[in-house]
Symmetry: D2
Subunit: 344 residues, 4 copies
């Protein structure tokens, strides 16, 4: 019996997940879609030859009896409401980041899920499913490098659009590191600081680019994260964890090597989607399989969504103040104590 999935929001990422579930993964089928643009939703049904009903809104889709689980792939400000409805309807829900646009919104979801007393919510932080990050996590958990002390990481895009603003560097870009890093080292964030290097000539006038974010954890780990979204040369994700007794580092994406014209080279990806395409597949397959096999989701929790919101809030404040800003997390609820890592 397949997991019957409804999709709220049939834009780019919604279509990708629909395609993935329909044509690449096992165990799920799209039975319902909705979008603020009803025609677009209908078009998706046609384009992907779905055997799915188009619903007028998220309420009706969520309450449909044949919908076991929903994907929330609408625009950010609509996420919280849909997720809360899904929890109340006791439906499993996969929500793309952000879980909610405010920390308070995330907390409302957290509390609703605790009330439901069941892991229903998975947040779309796909890095935890990337083969390289999984290897890093295993190495750290197996204490291959001893206690982590420092993390050096970088998030580089070749270029961003006109509508990309300075705060998006942390809210939309660094947020992936923010989720992945506390998971990697099983730690919580204490404070953040933002330093602006000389601005790149490649950046538009309104944008501070690059940025360096210094994050300190409660355990004393110091993270320095470079964000450079107009680096031109490629989409490049770097992550290196320095432990007491050794260092582990994320691999470069696999690529054939070339000797030609006096250069020994490999290609760097220009496109972020290709970098994590496998991770997206594993992530959604895990969503389907966990529900089917355990009756609960696994992966990043609503609490992880809350952590991301509080931490990005602190980063935005630090962008403005130039000071070290605290990351004021509430105490972690008992309910989430055991859901810290991806199941292996």
């Amino acid at each position: 019996m397949k997991l019957r999935i409804g999709v709220i929001g049939t834009g780019a990422i919604g279509k990708e997940h629909i395609n993935r579930i329909t044509n690449k993964l096992a165990g799920g089928e799209i039975v319902a879609v909705t979008d603020v643009n009803q025609e677009a939703a209908q078009q998706v049904v046609t384009d992907y030859s779905l055997n799915a009903k188009v619903y007028p809104d998220d309420d009706s889709l969520i309450s449909a009896e044949n919908v076991d689980a929903v994907l929330v792939t609408s625009w950010g400000p609509a996420h919280e409401s849909s997720v809360l409805k899904a929890i109340k309807a006791n439906k499993f829900v996969f929500c793309e980041k952000p879980l909610a646009t405010t920390a308070e919104g995330c907390m409302r979801i957290v509390n609703e899920e605790i009330k439901a007393d069941k892991r229903l919510v998975q947040v779309g932080f796909m890095r935890r499913y990337d083969s390289g990050y999984v290897q890093l996590k295993e190495a750290i958990d197996n204490r291959v490098i001893g206690e982590p002390l420092m993390i050096h990481c970088a998030h580089r895009n070749p270029v961003v659009g006109d509508n990309y603003t300075t705060d998006m560097a942390v809210v939309d870009t660094l947020v992936h590191e923010i989720d992945a890093l506390h998971w990697l080292i099983n730690d919580d964030y204490e404070s953040v600081q933002v330093i602006y290097p000389k601005k790149s000539k490649n950046a538009l006038p309104h944008l501070r680019d690059p940025q360096i974010v210094i994050i300190e954890t409660k355990g004393g780990v110091v993270i320095n994260a470079e964000i450079y979204v107009n680096c031109k040369y490629g989409y490049d994700i770097q992550c290196e964890i320095v432990g007491e007794d050794g260092i582990v580092k994320l691999p470069e994406p696999s690529s054939i090597s070339l000797r030609k014209d006096g250069k020994f080279s490999t290609d760097i990806l220009m496109d972020w989607q290709r970098r994590f395409v496998d991770a997206y597949d594993v992530e959604i397959q895990d969503f389907i399989d966990s529900i089917q096999q355990k009756g609960e989701v696994s992966g990043p929790t609503a609490w992880d969504g809350y952590i991301a919101a509080v931490t990005t809030d602190a980063c935005v404040k630090a962008q403005e103040s130039g000071q070290k800003e605290p990351v004021a997390l509430q105490e972690k609820p008992e309910f989430y104590q055991t859901f810290t890592t991806v199941e292996k």
Copy 2:
């Protein structure tokens, strides 16, 4: 509508493909299984919760009306017969290597498929679906390195069992290079020669290990292929194509790097199955998708199976003679002229 698949042979590789189709890939379902050991076949149905009927033999499975396509994963000597029956029944068939145990057997399949006038047969050479090989193929086809002149490759296993014999080094091991290399460079083999280096102390008394096979193509490319199946250190596949203007080389499998104890290291796989696990997935998904979307299979053809058989025969002869032996291929039938590469 899913592709309804029957599986002939429910041993290790059969179970893997059943699991793959059932739990990892989209578009296919196992509806029929058979095995010389009927209990084993029944057990597989139970273990994987299949909604599949157990048939007493390949004839009955192939002729079942609800079977659209068959996977032949029985032992080698049984392949030819099952494949011929499938073609005669106008069913699509994916056959693990070898297509047949003799060149004549492969030719009978080739002729049967030509008679059917439809691409029904795909042979299980999964390397063509490996990301690294696909990149090599693209680079060569795009003439990034000019005309290929030489290939240096190696196929190394950490260890082999007692039943592994000297001829298996070419028939079971090198056969993957034999298929992949002529596909990579769009060329045909002309002759083969086998040289035995000093025998490794790691090899059992009855086995010549390592071996070096020199293959020359009709186009003049010289391939030197090292086979070393008791190398201890890992499962390691190397392939480097030297062209007129540059060199392309297969990447190492993606792995985190570690700095520890005076060493900068990455892990080498010890297990061949992990090396090509993604390629197997892509291969079977391609089998399903090609049938569903084009009404024909793509990927390695029966003719490719014939090439592998003739070439490994020549290698075995060269192992014994110590001489350069011709690879006596018949002329390529018109029918196969256009089916040379994986569709992109």
Copy 3:
């Protein structure tokens, strides 16, 4: 005619340079030595079969008529006095770091050299002569990566002795980066900040280790420098410069690769002396050749020694204050404007 050299201080580094000049390099000869331990000085003459006179002190050595140039390899607090005497005697002088133990002391040397109106003083910052740093410098100067924006670097030692204190992390260790980085990017330092990550269990109780130093330049480049002197795994120097249009990175020291026991590895040096042994040779040969060929020294200037002193002072202050501290450099004298880089 060889350059006749006197050596002040015949400890470890003094002996190395004596050996280098006598047995590895061309154009120089040791004609005079002195040490506070006269017996040690005499022993060196014997051990290296030098045709050299032992002097009672630096004054007498410097004023010896047959001494063309002096190497100051005594302990740090004695450097300033010997260098000043050498300048006054119009002798060329190569001084190991620190040029002087205070910024004021460095400035006295600067002023004395300006008064002499001749480049007499070279400071022993050997990284500028390391092949990797030279390549980085060329790439940056040739604008291969556009304007530098950020530098990520690390200075790691396997272990340090009991007498290594927290301030030595900047004064003795980071000082090499401090000299090399402003030279690499042709910029001056503006401020420094020190962050202490969780302390490593490998560090002795009295020592803060690791440390992260954030340096901002007048031009807006942000440097984050990791110092970890009990990292156990090796002596490891990393340096990566992120420019507007690309990134250049220091190579790993050249080492054969090994595939064995499931690992693909290269060796990491455990010993700092082997890391820069070639750079030391090139450095001293350049000292000899510049004098012989141009009648002036080249390489790091007294002003560079002053920069190092002021910057390490600011770092020590930042270690204590936890705040961002200014690097209060005086204006660069006209005299040093043209002596910014190693001659190629």
Copy 4:
């Protein structure tokens, strides 16, 4: 006291060694030069400001009382005669390859040196002094990879001149591998075979390029050596030794890495002289030091020169015959039994 050196042949390589000894190395001085072109010899004395006498011929130079050692850097056909004269005069002699143009010529030198009963002759095979080869040798001698079984190597030049002929691929190019490989594995050659791949469009009409040489040793090691002297992309030396338990491989020359324009790259040298420049320095310094310290040369012996001659002869024969040809070495004289490796 410096080693007083006379140079026979002041062409390109002669000038390089003169410059090296005069301006880069310690312990030697050029006191005598000769050349068939006396003006050229005189010009070199002027250009390098040598305190050296120009002799009319090799006889007079060799017999000069103040000449302790000679470098033979004349053209190949003149080597044998000068070396024989030097031995008879009991002078140390460093001879660039070839030691003699025939195996018989080499044997005459061998016999003369045995008669002198003193190691007087060093042949200019500089690879043994290259850091990478030295590391390979250490790893093999320390049995890091167990018994060597196979060697894969390549010698690639970007381009060669019009006068480069097919036999030069072995006589002038592969000869360096021929010397280095038997030294690396402490073995002797048994047979050689040459295979011609498709000819590169980059090669001139008269030249077979690339070539593959298969060499088998008495111990059963199989070497496959690629020679491609018009590969365009760079000067590239590859060497990988496959042992029973692991593989060691020569490193790429040290180079900064660059991320730019979608490529992660390092530079490949275009110029062979830069590849082994350090090895040349170490080689000549070792020649000087060994004489000064031990009263004998070390490094490649006259017997090694003989091995190179016999092996390249067999290769040329194999180029013509297309067959496997024996490497018919005489028995190694007792005298050379102990001079197999570079002293460490």
